[in-house]
Symmetry: C2
Subunit: 181 residues, 2 copies
DNA sequence: TCGCCCACCTATCTGTTAGATATTTCTGTC
DNA sequence: GACAGAAATATCTAACAGATAGGTGGGCGA
């Protein structure tokens, strides 16, 4: 129960860019932060309501009937700053691919090969996605001052994807060796 | 709600190695799988009870009063095999470090530098841990047939840690450049 | 014009999970 | 014998995922 909600930081962060509806917050997180952060509706809406109740967000009618636009209050901006400064809490690992490979003798070499090849395809797709993000950012004039920081997150993903590819190639060689025995 | 429990696979997998108490299952997962999998007591005990009720585990008195040792039944072994063959479900990303760096302009370059340096230290510690795992495995005669598969998981961790180090160095250079502006 | 489809929008529900906490027993050491 | 730490069982509460439900508005095709 020592887990402290991280959703608040993500929601406040998204709204620090511009005022938005709950749906738009979800979309912004999915499209802009999506390569390293996820947030479900199950968290977004209760968080928005709570933060509004606590005075960290202003809420007024949106462009459509029934919609509401939220914006950061001064207190909300201060709260975001505070959250960003808090130590990062490590997230427990749960890597399903590695769990399956660990029990690879049970699973069989052929199935392992398939898993690793799938991981390779996934990593390649991720690299393509990062390239697309870079391309988009190169053409956007908006928020230019943020770009260097945003690109750090893309670079992290790229390094990770390349590591996965290198490991996958090595692993496929190892698995082939095992199959030959 | 489409999330399907992964704890069953971890618990059955651990017990496929040898019969254990609930506490020992937790320790085995923590010490042997811990570099890529985590499982809390909150899951382990209810899962053990459920799997026993379902006939996937046998349970008999342990060495100490009040303790219980669980072992895989034939049905349990078949169930593990089945679970290992199910497609891996991707785990949503939630990288607190990258979220902070994304809002690096808000946070400030100095704070970003500290975060990245901490990430570097962590990656180095992870590398040391992998080396220790390799060393331990080199001396153990037990379970030798499993070692190649287990080493694949260690190698994945090493590749990841090295990628983090490379990214961290690059990022520190970038941040220094930003600070100079 | 009408109906369908899709995007926008709000919100909840249920199952998975983390880790703190509580309690008890056993063992080793002083 | 007392104390500390490990072994052992189990639950509790909060965070979280994603499916689902319902509604509105606009565009497009028959």
């Amino acid at each position: 129960m020592a887990r402290v909600s991280q959703s608040e930081m993500a929601v406040l962060g998204a709204l620090s860019v511009r005022p938005m509806t709950g749906y738009a917050v979800r979309e912004a997180i999915r499209t802009v932060l999506g390569h390293f952060w996820n947030e479900s509706y199950g968290q977004i809406y209760p968080t928005l309501t709570r933060l509004h109740t606590e005075g960290l967000l202003d809420r007024h009618g949106g462009e459509r009937s029934g919609s509401m636009t939220y914006s950061l209050t001064t207190a909300g901006r201060a709260r975001l700053s505070e959250l960003l400064r808090q130590p990062e809490s490590p997230r427990p690992e749960r890597n399903g691919l590695l769990l399956r490979l660990f029990f690879g003798r049970e699973l069989g070499v052929d199935a392992c090969v398939e898993l690793v090849q799938a991981a390779k395809v996934d990593a390649e797709q991720r690299l393509a996605n990062y390239a697309a993000i870079r391309a988009t950012m190169a053409t956007e004039e908006e928020d230019r001052a943020h770009h260097p920081f945003w690109l750090l997150t893309v670079s992290a993903g790229e390094h990770g994807a390349r590591a996965t590819l290198a490991w996958a190639d090595e692993t496929l060689r190892t698995l082939r060796g095992l199959a030959a025995n």
